[in-house]
């Protein structure tokens, strides 16, 4: 399990200096093996800073990151896969050589690195581009190479900063499938994204950050359930005044009445009244989308 606890980071100003910008103000969360963790938050909320601290390219002022119940060390990180926010590849290097190179840097032998590269290129549909310079590839294909660089050494943990940004829907699906495969084989995956529907679809858990704090965390279902308390009833052609005395407000359009009820209420009584009044088309507790939860959480 990857555990991030109480990370704090301030930029600018020396140690002890009062000015400077607080980037992280005590971020904590955990990702279990085989769990896909979606990291959402507004720009500048602290997602990238957190990921950079996890990957050791930035030092936290305080707090800790632990992996399998020990403090995360340099040698552990070598077995992690990382995709930084701003894509980094050697533009003039050939695709295959580049992926192999990173495999070797992560400790693979020459043969193993070559084989892993061949497999990844095959899976990502880049086999024909193996000998081309990275700069000749389209943005989407460069992104695939970037993913291959993060995956080549069969990492134990994946940390991906905005892996889906700038991809077309087909490339998004390909990438999502690749991540789900890794996840199913027991690898914890953390990724950040602004595409909340995607996070909702892919992730087991979600963490919402705002101003350097984790404002909500948990499974998508839990978050939705916790936020939801509005009953929505749709009745077609009911008798007028059917909802008199019931809590909530009714809006009517084209003979369709929609009742939205918050707070204290007797759901069964409402259902009985609705069925008596007309044809019930919909009856259920409103599940807010992740987007609604997110907006609620960060404001």
């Amino acid at each position: 399990m990857l555990e991030i606890s109480e990370l704090r980071k301030r930029f600018g100003g020396g140690p002890g200096a009062s000015e400077g910008k607080v980037a992280l103000d005590g971020i904590s969360f955990a990702v279990r093996p085989g769990e896909m963790f979606g990291f959402v938050g507004a720009n500048g909320a602290g997602k990238t800073t957190t990921m950079r601290i996890v990957m050791g390219v930035l030092q936290a002022d305080s707090g800790s990151v632990s992996w399998e119940d020990r403090p995360l060390a340099y040698d552990d990180r070598r077995r992690f896969g990382y995709m930084p926010e701003e894509r980094g590849l050697y533009q003039k290097m050939r695709v295959g050589e580049q992926i192999e190179y990173f495999g070797r840097l992560h400790g693979l032998g020459q043969q193993a690195a070559k084989k892993a590269t061949d497999d990844l290129l095959e899976r990502l549909g880049l086999t024909e581009r193996r000998g081309d310079a990275v700069q000749t590839l389209s943005l989407g294909n460069q992104q695939r190479v970037q993913l291959a660089v993060a995956l080549v050494h069969d990492p134990e943990v994946l940390v991906l900063d905005e892996p889906f940004s700038g991809l077309d829907p087909i490339a998004v699906d390909a990438l999502a499938t690749a991540l789900q495969e890794r996840c199913r084989s027991g690898v914890p995956v953390i990724f950040s994204s602004h595409q909340l529907e995607l996070v909702e679809r892919l992730c087991d858990s979600v963490g919402i950050v705002a101003a350097g704090r984790m404002v909500a965390t948990g499974t998508v279902a839990d978050l939705r359930a916790a936020e939801s308390n509005t009953l929505r009833v749709v009745v077609r052609d009911p008798a007028p005044g059917w909802a008199d005395g019931l809590p909530g407000a009714v809006t009517a359009t084209d003979g369709k009445h929609v009742l939205l009820a918050d707070g204290e209420r007797d759901d069964q009584e409402i259902l009985r009244r609705a069925m008596k009044a007309g044809h019930v088309e919909h009856f259920g507790v409103e599940r807010p989308t992740l987007t609604e939860i997110f907006k609620e959480a960060v404001t």
């Binding site: 020396g14 070598r78 590849l89």
Partner: protein
């Protein structure tokens, strides 16, 4: 160490395949070969065409063995004059008593004609004069011209290679920093491994260049006959040059990497490197001056001061005889300077290379934790 080697190997294999590297190597090889042949081609021995009218040919060749003489006989003065005016002959000896020319005759040829003529006449009269013996009491200056020539070529080669490779290191550092690839690299490598690998890899490429230049130069000099004028001790000089190049490169490349790590954009490399390029230029100027006056005070003093010594000392060694102890002391000083710079440069690089964005101030980086 494995990481260092992987990084170094990547630098070498990606650079060596570029057109720029291959073409650069070919062009320098051709230039060096041309320089080695140039003196032989330009130092053509003097050659004269002389005519005779009713005269004996003079034994000029015996008096001036380096020059070439061609003789032509003419039936009469009129034919000889015409040949002179047409520029077919330089001078015509008539009746063994006068020399016809077209305008003023070169002093060298006229002195030669007069003295050989005198000698022949005196010899005919039974008077023989032993030639004057020449004895030098000064230093052995036989190789002076060759030494200066080698030193000048050496300065140019060392300067160009040093500047080129140091700039490559700086550009490489910024390339990795600006593309943020350094973040992925440093999640699996220590900063010193990345820096060390880059400096070693590009240094090997510099050495390949230098060895090619030296080898082509020596082979071409041997082929053109220029090597006959070379002073003894060339193998020692070559070894010294390679060593000094490595020391100078290690010094400047480490500082170049440290300075380059302060900026995040390729466009800023030039300006952040300015102080360093100025030092390299200054080293070059002093070294160039030393080719002219290798035994002067300036050259002697500066050849002990790192990093200037890295270029001035090999130039002094080429241009004149340098006692071994002097070269040793100078090299020890340079090695210490390189070690100091490695420690200092690696620290700056480590602290600055992950801080992308605006150009960092050296002082801030040093003060930071």
């Amino acid at each position: 160490m494995n990481g260092v080697m992987l990084v170094a190997r990547r630098e070498i294999t990606t650079q060596i395949r570029t057109k720029a590297f291959v073409i650069g190597l070919l062009v320098t090889a051709v230039l060096v070969a041309a320089v080695s042949f140039a003196p032989t081609i330009m130092d053509r021995p003097d050659s004269y065409t002389l005519g005779t009218v009713n005269s004996q040919q003079l034994p000029l060749k015996a008096a001036a063995p380096d020059a070439e003489f061609t003789w032509r006989g003419f039936p009469d003065e009129a034919a000889a004059k015409q040949a002179l005016l047409d520029g077919d002959v330089d001078a015509v000896l008539v009746d063994g008593t006068k020399v016809l020319t077209d305008g003023e005759l070169g002093s060298e040829l006229s002195v030669l004609l007069q003295s050989v003529n005198r000698e022949v006449r005196l010899g005919a009269a039974g008077v023989s004069i032993p030639p004057l013996q020449m004895v030098s009491v000064g230093a052995d200056t036989r190789y002076e011209a060759a030494r200066t020539g080698i030193a000048v070529v050496l300065v140019l080669v060392l300067f160009m290679l040093l500047m080129g490779q140091v700039m490559m290191v700086a550009m490489g550092v910024v390339e990795e920093k600006s593309s943020r690839i350094v973040e992925i690299l440093l999640s699996t490598l220590r900063p010193w491994q990345l820096l060390g690998g880059k400096i070693i890899g590009l240094g090997v490429l510099g050495l390949i260049n230098l060895v090619t230049i030296l080898a082509v130069g020596l082979v071409a000099a041997a082929a053109s006959g220029l090597a006959a004028d070379f002073p003894p001790g060339i193998p020692g000089l070559v070894a010294g040059v390679l060593l000094w190049f490595l020391l100078g490169y290690a010094f400047f490349a480490t500082l170049g990497a440290a300075l380059a790590s302060l900026v995040s954009r390729q466009e800023e490399v030039g300006s952040v490197m300015t102080p360093l390029t100025m030092v390299i230029m200054l080293t070059y100027f002093v070294a160039f001056y030393a080719t002219n006056d290798p035994t002067g005070t300036l050259a002697t003093v500066v050849s002990y001061i790192p990093p200037f010594s890295s270029m001035v000392m090999p130039v002094r060694m080429a241009a004149t005889e340098v006692p071994l102890w002097q070269a040793g002391v100078s090299m020890a000083g340079m090695v210490l300077a390189v070690l100091a710079v490695l420690g200092f440069g690696a620290k700056i690089y480590e602290r600055a290379v992950l801080r992308t964005g605006a150009r960092l101030k050296l002082g801030d980086v040093l003060r930071a934790r």
